[in-house]
């Protein structure tokens, strides 16, 4: 080769191709994404965040929380499980049949077969869709993350390292704002095994006025403020807690179907 043209051509071909594929195509395919409906309901997903939660994402970004926390749950696949809802006219026969059948971790075809056998004896069944995977076993979610979960996020904070737990549905796991604030102030007071640094700079220690502040943290032991003082969250801490509570990826959508637990 005697000119720089072939090398330039390789750059244009390779980088141009991947720019089309991984920048422009996702921008077109995912950039126009809209709200979706929750499966089998008329509810819209995801709901718009509150003002505090929207500001809280900026606190999350500013403090680099994504350095240790992911907001993405993986899933290996789904299985079906058959649940008997009513034994029907011939309970003894259904019970005998059930003893011989596997009811969980079935493919769709196997589940239909089992359901057919039970309904043949007069029993009533429901077939549930159950996602599986290590992240779900860990209790970090009920389904894998989908594009809609991040619809209102800027910047999207997927994260790449789990030095701490995944937060994709922390608002479902730990829905108490007071506990979230306490964990931010003194992580070890909530989880003695925590390696998270405390974010004490998001709180103010102030003298108790005429009456204790309703926002004051409920602390004990070495974390408690000195006598006559109380620990009150700054607006940033309250916004961050509101953001964490807004992370609730727990509804079935078209891309990630599952059967939600029956409402009591």
């Amino acid at each position: 080769m005697k000119s720089g043209f072939p090398a330039t051509f390789v750059v244009v071909l390779a980088l141009g191709g991947s720019t089309l594929g991984f920048v422009l195509a996702p921008a077109v395919q995912l950039g126009g994404i809209q709200q979706t409906t929750v499966l089998n309901t008329a509810d819209i997903y995801p709901p718009q965040r509150t003002g505090d939660a929207t500001l809280g994402l900026q606190v999350y970004r500013a403090n680099g929380c994504a350095a240790c926390h992911t907001e993405q749950v993986r899933q290996d696949g789904v299985a079906c499980e058959v649940v008997l809802t009513a034994p029907g006219a011939n309970p003894a026969a259904v019970t005998n049949l059930l003893a011989t059948l596997t009811l969980t971790n079935l493919t769709k075809e196997a589940a239909d077969l089992v359901a057919g056998q039970i309904t043949g004896l007069g029993g009533k069944v429901e077939t549930h869709i159950v996602p599986n995977g290590a992240d779900l076993d860990h209790g970090w979610g009920v389904r894998h993350s989908v594009a809609e979960d991040y619809l209102y996020d800027y910047p999207v904070q997927l994260g790449g390292l789990r030095a701490g737990p995944d937060l994709a549905s922390i608002g479902v796991r730990s829905p108490d704002a007071g506990l979230q604030l306490k964990h931010l102030y003194a992580p070890k007071s909530v989880n003695s095994n925590s390696r998270m640094p405390s974010f004490k700079y998001l709180f103010t220690v102030q003298k108790i006025g005429d009456a204790p502040s309703p926002d004051a943290l409920n602390l004990s032991g070495t974390d408690a403020a000195p006598a006559g003082f109380e620990v009150v969250p700054k607006p940033e801490a309250r916004q961050l807690a509101a953001y964490l509570l807004s992370l609730r990826a727990n509804l079935p959508v078209y891309d990630a179907p599952f059967t939600p637990p029956a409402k009591p």
Binding site: M1, T19, P26, Q29, L30, T70, D76, V156, L161, F199
Partner: protein, 477 residues
């Protein structure tokens, strides 16, 4: 004689080296400061795993900010400007002409270091953009982009003025590197910061950029520099020209699509395409192994390389090539879903990134700079014994920094992301980082000593010129 040859006549090597002196100094003095700043910040971040409360009360030094600032200081503060400085010297040498417009890169280098300062200060003050490897806010990233282009243009001109028209393999790699960064940096910043796309597409673009900077740009630059210095320092020809061409094509074509993990919440075609590209990436990696092995085991050693002691520039280059192969294999492995299930989101990925930065690119850059800086400045290092010391500190440091992180990553992934399982490994890795930091201090000390000596010589020359007695002929007229 063509017009080109009259304007840019063949220059002797010392004259070429001297023409690169100012750009090299402007880029490298700042780069060695960022190198030390970055490794101190990385050490602070690492110590936080021994004691989470270490410096936790200071918002500027909270873990999430420090770790981002450390990585950016190393990549944008050291790797990119040091890489550019080696590229401009290699292009001038290969072209056998003096570097055109040396003052443009000097101005650009100051803009670059200003951009890095603005970016790092913004991250520590909580104004990062929140995108991995693109944390610098608008002001910082515009400065970096402009400065890179300003350095790339005269460097490309030096390439255009070459006397020997046939391209050497390093030419392809380094020319591609000059185009690769501005293209990917601008695209990512336009779609993420200037006119942000909606939703999860941001995640895809961020991962695409991270891969194109840390894997492709690093590989193009590191391999381009290694393919220049390996034959030069060992006295053996590169084997072969066509293997190198093959590595270049496959690296560019496959490498650019990698880096998007399996379980990401993106459409399946994106993750699948990335996994296929990762598997194909084995082709250039095998190519680099073959080239390195055949070049080193080929024709007999030159007398010069035989007498070279262990720990000289060539050792840095060899360390870098070995690290490239290992880090690439670590990058390819998670394309297999069974491996990805255990290793994704663990310290293993961080280990690969750190090996790519320290073991591969930084090592090759150190080797190249230890060779070319005394030539460019015209006098030897003040502390030549530090070069060997730096090599052993870097080698041992990378070993102790990366291997425990990788093992810790496996432990973490196999134990449900429990940090306790990997804690002992993290503690050993801090020690490795400490060794790397000491090595970096030795490097920075040598560079700063060169700079100070050059300044003193400059002042002496000016002083001598000013105080020199006027010639009688001038007095008479």
């Amino acid at each position: 004689m063509t017009a080109n040859e009259t304007i840019h006549p063949t220059a002797p090597a010392p004259e070429i080296d001297a023409s690169c002196r100012l750009p090299l100094l402007a880029l490298l003095v700042g780069a060695s400061v960022w190198l030390v700043v970055g490794s101190v910040l990385a050490l602070i971040a690492s110590i936080k795993f021994h004691d989470p409360e270490f410096l936790a009360a200071c918002p500027l030094l909270t873990y999430g900010r420090v770790v981002a600032a450390a990585n950016d200081a190393l990549v944008y503060g050291f790797c990119l400007p040091a890489g550019l400085s080696v590229i401009l010297w290699i292009f001038s040498r290969l072209s056998q002409t003096v570097y055109p417009l040396p003052l443009v890169p000097v101005i650009a280098a100051h803009l670059w270091h200003l951009g890095v300062f603005v970016g790092l200060a913004s991250i520590l003050l909580g104004n990062s953009t929140g995108f991995t490897w693109l944390e610098f806010p608008r002001g910082g990233s515009i400065l970096l982009f402009v400065a890179f282009v300003l350095i790339a243009i005269p460097t490309a001109a030096a390439f255009g003025y070459r006397r020997e028209k046939t391209l050497y393999p390093s030419h392809w790699f380094l020319l591609a590197a000059l185009l690769w960064f501005p293209w990917s940096y601008a695209s990512a910043n336009i779609f993420l910061v200037a006119m942000p796309v909606r939703g999860v597409a941001q995640g895809v673009i961020d991962l695409w950029f991270g891969n194109n900077l840390l894997y492709v740009w690093f590989s193009l630059t590191g391999l381009g520099i290694a393919f220049y210095f390996l034959p030069k320092l060992t006295g053996r020809p590169l084997k072969t020209y066509y293997y190198a061409l093959y590595v270049f094509w496959t690296l560019a074509l496959f490498g650019t699509w990698c880096g998007i993990p399996h379980g990401s919440p993106f459409p399946a075609w994106i993750t699948s395409l990335s996994a296929i590209a990762s598997v194909l990436l084995i082709v250039p990696v095998i190519g680099v192994m073959v080239i390195t092995a055949q070049t080193l085991c080929g024709s007999p050693k030159s007398a010069e390389s035989k007498s070279a002691p262990l720990g000289g520039p060539v050792c840095f280059i060899k360390l870098g090539l070995a690290a490239f192969v290992i880090s690439s294999l670590m990058y390819i492995a998670p394309a297999c879903p069974q491996i990805s299930r255990v290793l994704e989101f663990t310290w293993f990925g961080q280990a690969q990134v750190q090996l790519q930065i320290w073991g591969f690119l930084a090592s090759i850059l150190f080797g190249a700079l230890y060779y070319l800086l005394p030539l460019a400045l015209g006098f030897a290092f003040k502390f030549p014994q530090f070069v060997r010391g730096h090599f052993f500190l870097l080698g041992l440091g990378v070993l102790l920094w990366v291997v425990p992180l990788a093992i810790g990553g496996y432990e973490q992934g196999a134990n449900g992301y429990s940090l306790d399982a990997s804690l002992n490994c993290l503690r050993i890795s801090t020690l490795g980082l400490g060794l790397i930091l000491i090595g970096n201090l030795l490097f920075a000390l040598n560079v700063l000593a060169l700079f100070v000596t050059w300044k003193i010589n400059l002042v002496k020359t000016i002083f001598a010129a000013v105080t020199a007695p006027l010639k009688t002929s001038e007095v008479k007229s």
